[in-house]
Symmetry: C2
Subunit: 215 residues, 2 copies
């Protein structure tokens, strides 16, 4: 696999390119650390951004949707799609409104997604989606019935046209503004997992869920 | 203002409609609690989902972008757009792969956005974007220069065609699966603000930032 993607006219970063990266390992790390992505696609020419679970197998990203949902069928030509993952890492409070920002890690993957029809790839994709959030979960639970598989549409988007953008560090203020008597800096933002709450119907003796299993 | 929006063919929830809502207060609450949104729009027919800060003034949502960025100019006809906000509140671990889910609050607003040209509305919009994250911040910092305003494009999307979708509670398993000896329940997910880190260049005597000011 390539270690650095070649930017295209569609993925070349136009704004603050020094924050950008086409490094595959960087993009993978951002994707793999996320709970959800936002998927953009068109329905009758109207763009939608929908939150979805996702999984990755090598350079294939997989999202799934209910077969009866809004997501259009991908025909033989596929479905133009953008999969975006964003982590907000901090609020960047500057001395001017203009220089307010956030620290973040963002990965954007675009291209034409294909509907996965091969049953072996479909099952591997769904395994990746489940195990993406809780590694090893797929093997612990009941796997899909034929009916459940039929009710689920899986799309694959190759990680070929993609970029990452990362901001870190404190505010960067205009020189004249440093005399202003206002607090400036970063408020860190983190995602935290709480104490697991069992559903009250566990079989006797089942081991509690360990949050340390989560990414 | 209307208290309930009328669903259109484009916003009517097709999948699990019992989780949906067109209640304006519900949609506002989901939007107002978010740090960022994802904005979907097309560039030469390719959909993109981009993370952005945003603000709300009444039933107008505002996003801003660098004037030199990828976001297309909205001409007289405007720009078809979708603004989506998603909060992940929990991982829902079921006894089958199929019934795995997440608890979440999501608001989706679609329509044709307009480029804000009126300077008074533009300034109010930028104030809303800054104060959305830190209430009262706009009045504490240097406000935009003419050059900074010129460098910033602001889009307005009316909150007219929109829906909310919310999932809460534990997993809902098939009856036959409750005998499975596997943990099932919810792992809560929360967003947490850490200790503010000043940038080391504060004027002497500036008060520390209080995280309690954040939403």
């Amino acid at each position: 696999m390539e270690t650095t993607l070649t930017p295209t006219e569609r993925t070349r970063l136009k704004r603050l390119p020094q924050r950008g990266s086409y490094d595959v390992a960087t993009i993978h790390a951002i994707l793999d650390a996320a709970l959800i992505c936002h998927v953009a696609f068109n329905v009758d020419g109207q763009p939608f951004a929908m939150p979805m679970a996702f999984g990755r197998v090598g350079n294939q990203l997989y999202v799934h949707a209910a077969s009866v949902g809004r997501m259009p069928r991908a025909g033989a030509d596929g479905l133009d799609m953008c999969i975006t993952v964003t982590h907000v890492d901090g609020l960047v409070l500057a001395r001017s409104a203009f220089h307010h920002s956030m620290n973040y890690r963002c990965a954007i993957v675009i291209g034409r997604a294909r509907l996965v029809s091969d049953p072996i790839e479909k099952e591997a994709a769904l395994r990746a989606v489940v195990d993406h959030v809780v590694p090893g979960r797929w093997d612990e639970v009941r796997q899909p019935s034929a009916q459940e598989l039929k009710a689920t549409a899986v799309f694959a988007l190759a990680l070929e046209e993609a970029s990452a953008k990362v901001r870190t560090g404190g505010p960067i203020d205009d020189a004249d503004d440093y005399t202003r008597p206002v607090w400036a800096g970063v408020v860190p933002v983190t995602t935290t997992f709480g104490q697991p709450e069992d559903d009250g119907r566990l079989v006797a003796g089942v081991a509690p869920f360990e949050v340390s299993r989560l990414q």
